[in-house]
Amino acid sequence: MNIKCRITDLLALTGRKMSIKKLEDALFMLKVEVEGIDEGIMELEINPDRPDMLSAEGVARALRAFLNIETGLKKYPVRKSKNEVIVSKGLKKIREFIACGIVKDVKTSDEIIKGYMHLQEALTTTHGRNRKKASIGLYVYDDITFPVHYTVQTPEKIRFAPLGYDEVMNGPEILETHEKGQMFGSIISNFRKWPLLTDDTGNILSLPPIINSNTLGQVDISTRNIFVEVTGTHLPTVKQALNIMITSIAERGGSIESVTIKYPDGTIHETPDLAPIEMILDTDMTSRYIGIEFADNDVIECLSRMGYSARVAKKNTLRVRVPAYRTDIMHPVDLIEDVAIGYGYNNLEPTLPTTMTAGKVLPTTRIKNKIRDIMIGMGYQEILSFVMSSPEMLNDKMLRNEPLITTGNPKSRDFSVLRNSILPILLDFVARNQHADLPIRIFEVGDIVTPDESMETRSSQQSSVCGLITDIQVNLTELMTNLGFLLRNMGLDSRFKFAASDDVSFIDGRSADILIEGEKLGYFGEVSPEVLTNFNIIYPVVAFELRIPKVFN
């Protein structure tokens, strides 16, 4: 996901003056790519594993540690506000979890508020899976009468003016008319009751995950104290989103206060929980993964440049404190990558191990290459085509009716199924080259796929070769001579047989099956004028197609 930062703001938050080149280099080493700079605004590409860097505040926090301005674990003191959020029954299947927090004495400006909105949007899009898993709301703390109630309500009975509107609407109206309702309505629309957030006087905060109310949910430059709420279906995701949102706001100053969440089953959560998570890291393992002989202290130093604090538990074993805003640390290997980043990827020298293996191409590749060589020797030009095609081309135009592997979400019907034959693809190629010099002799070696219930993925994939000649006049003798040369050089001299067929794609009396040891593996013939007309081809065509025999596989 891309974010935009004003360079002066980013440098001020980082707390060091530096050239844009230096800034870019540091970001590059932190996995952040500068996509462009325009009028003092930098566009940055943030990798999906670092949602904590989806804001200028988050990027600056990472830069300060990496550039040794403020290393180690960043501390965010949290005071209990004694405010409560009471969760009603009935939310379990709809949107079970909520986490909230307060930031007081925040600095605001139009640009800063815009930044918070962008972070909220970016977080809910990526980390919150388009609001399904988690969505975030920001409110003017001083306008709210606590306790706040997280409850459910019949859609028609939900009545408030959504953000940006003066008139009061009911739930279904909001889903229908409001832009956000149209975008995210499907998350709740199938439920009989919808989630609702109200304060103790009954004033509505928001209809999660759709839209805030116009009265309580409008944070502006006069706002000093912000109430942050995250609802969702996955508790760890909800808590992480809150941690990232709260700590990012607090990066500009302000103090964090926690809120008590009371669930109907008696469970009580105090959020945000910004206590670092502890993880054990083995120094030897770190050295083995990266390929550098690290001492315990080297690893600790690298980690502190990535915003962690660590201490030696016993020799070779480190106790690492992971900041609460990091969502991507699932395993010690995630710490190891950060050690490598802290060390600097540009300080790593490539090494070449002596892993001894004998390389070879697949037997199929060898026989495919052999067939290609023979076809080229006979004067055929090689063609490569898409594997995806359309039922019109594979079946209708060919007068065939074969089952096709069909996708459910193609962008175009022209590429909606997998080809089960190459001949139609080459006929289409000929149709597009009616003005090229004749004769046209072309071939393709490639894979075709057919449905097969007996297989693990319900499909059978095979290599096939298709050769085709078109000219003012064509004759089957030439094609059969070519085919004979190919089959004999594939070592099938006494093993193949041609048996007359009544394939409707070909002229009656001018087509045959290719039998390899009695098994039908292909066909050839002079293409029927009806098929040629379907493809808009104005010259006669002879062609063969042969599935590459299993004896070679």
Partner: protein, 501 residues
């Protein structure tokens, strides 16, 4: 520069030497009994070698039209009519005058028109048929003289220029523009020409089996052949340039000890996503991104229940891998869903499933599918080139070493590195290479497979995984800007394009 002459060139040169002066192509053609076009082509070839000087003049020539030819023979119609009226006594009816003059119906109109304009005759209209009366006299006869001049191929005298203009206006004379080629020997080259001509002009045209067996070729010369002609284009069979490029990559990777492997286009999400520790709610699995297979079958099967159990636990809570896992339930319905594989990494997983014992090196270059609209920059299909190395104690630096080595062999020598991000590798790396055309390009992503990926297969050693942005390199090498060109439908382009490593 060739010192040899073809028979045709020899004949033309000899004629020019003999004439010693400016000679027209037409004259040469007539003298040698050849077509003028062929002589002009030979003259051009000689002129390119500075043996002759060729001057080309374009001029206008005049010739009679059919009408003009008829008037040259029979006089102009207005005079014929005038003469007839005079002969009939200076006044005559229209019909009798026309009949006396022997004018056709078409000529009659022309005669009346011009006789009036020149003031020769007057039409008297009364109650009866129109009557013609002589009013002027026949003072001008020169136009016919001009026509007769042209008829007998004489040059037009200067004093007839005004008449010529009139004749052209009356469409009696037409203008033809002609290019005339004149050639003469270049004086400075005459000694060279003499030398060339002095070589025996006769020689054997075709060496035959008889000559070889009898030995009659001995002591004879062979007639030279124009061996400097640019050969014509031909359409023989040859490889597709993209296929040649892929062949080359395979050769390099086999040389580095990699084993080629394959896997099906139709995959279960088990292999395409879950085996790679992609969370089941990851946006990459969206129908916007991956093709779902819906017909005739939409779900496949799990080939290894033990592996499935390990993977399920790994996703849900980390299982035996030491990971936290995704802390969300793992769905069998999702994992057996059929998709078109969106990358080649499931093939690496299938390989490791079959060959878990190190050391291993595997590669694949093959087709993948994403639900994209075909455009200059996106296609629903693309090739990927990737591989894995599995061995004890492999490191991130070793991965950088392999990537550098592969890049070096495809001609990319200068590398720089940045941490990367892929759901299935950690640490991850992004290799940038300096490309002579494209500059720094993101060319080689890679990483160490996460324990969540390898442990469920029982693999505890490190496995390095790398990819190569081969399509981009190929496009740059052929200056292809449009991704659709990779699988072009243009036969002429294929006939004329080649890949040279």
């Amino acid at each position: 520069m060739s010192e040899q002459l073809t028979t045709g060139e020899r004949e033309v040169l000899e004629y020019l030497v003999r004439k010693d002066g400016l000679v027209s192509a037409g004259e040469i053609a007539e003298a040698l009994g050849q077509k003028e076009e062929r002589i002009i082509s030979i003259l051009n070839s000689l002129a390119q070698r500075d043996l002759i000087r060729l001057t080309i003049n374009e001029f206008e020539s005049y010739s009679l039209t059919d009408e003009g030819l008829s008037y040259a023979e029979n006089d102009l119609p207005e005079f014929r009519l005038f003469d007839a009226v005079q002969k009939l006594g200076g006044s005559a009816s229209m019909d009798s005058a026309v009949s006396e003059a022997g004018l056709s119906k078409q000529e009659k109109g022309i005669a009346m028109n011009w006789a009036k304009r020149k003031g020769l005759l007057q039409i008297e209209k009364g109650a009866g048929p129109p009557n013609l009366k002589v009013v002027g006299d026949r003072h001008e006869t020169n136009l016919r003289d001009l026509l007769q001049h042209l008829k007998s191929n004489n040059a037009v005298p200067k004093n007839m220029n005004a008449l010529l203009k009139q004749a052209i206006e009356r469409k009696l004379v037409k203008i033809t523009k002609t290019k005339v080629f004149h050639a003469e020997i270049v004086k400075e080259s005459s000694s060279k020409i003499q030398a060339m001509l002095s070589k025996a002009s006769e020689g054997i045209a075709n060496l035959t089996s008889d000559m070889l067996m009898s030995g009659t070729w001995k002591g004879k010369t062979f007639r030279p052949f124009n061996v400097e002609l640019e050969p014509a284009f031909a359409n023989y069979g040859k490889k597709h340039p993209y296929a040649e490029f892929i062949d080359w990559l395979k050769e390099i990777l086999v040389g580095l000890g990699f084993n080629e492997w394959f896997g099906p286009f139709v995959e279960t999400e088990f292999w395409n996503n879950d085996a790679l520790f992609v969370p089941q709610d990851h946006p990459a699995r969206d129908v916007q991104d991956q093709f779902r297979v819906v017909s005739p079958y939409d779900h496949g099967e799990i080939p290894d229940e033990r592996y499935f159990k390990e993977l399920k636990a790994t996703h849900e809570n980390g299982g035996k891998t030491g990971s936290t896992g995704w802390k969300a339930p793992f769905s069998r319905e999702v994992t057996t869903r059929l998709v078109l594989r969106s990358h080649t990494t499931p093939v690496s997983m299938r390989y490791l499933w079959e060959y878990p014992e190190p050391p291993q090196k595997m590669f694949i270059i093959d087709r993948n599918f994403r639900s994209e609209t075909l455009s200059a920059t996106h296609a629903q299909e693309f090739n990927q080139c990737e591989g894995i190395i599995s061995d004890h104690n492999l490191t991130l630096r070793d991965l950088m070493g392999y990537i550098s080595e592969i890049c070096k062999r495809v001609g990319l020598k200068k590398m720089k590195w940045k941490p990367g991000q892929f759901p299935f590798t950690e640490p991850s790396i992004e290799g940038y290479a300096k490309h002579e055309v494209l500059g720094w390009i993101e060319v080689a992503p890679g990483g160490l497979f996460r324990p969540e990926v390898t442990y469920p297969l029982g693999i505890k050693n490190t496995v390095l995984a790398w990819g190569l942005g081969a399509g981009r390199m190929y496009m740059a090498s052929l200056d292809i800007k449009d991704i659709r060109q990779l699988f072009t439908r243009d036969l002429n382009w294929l006939r004329r394009t080649y890949f040279v490593r």
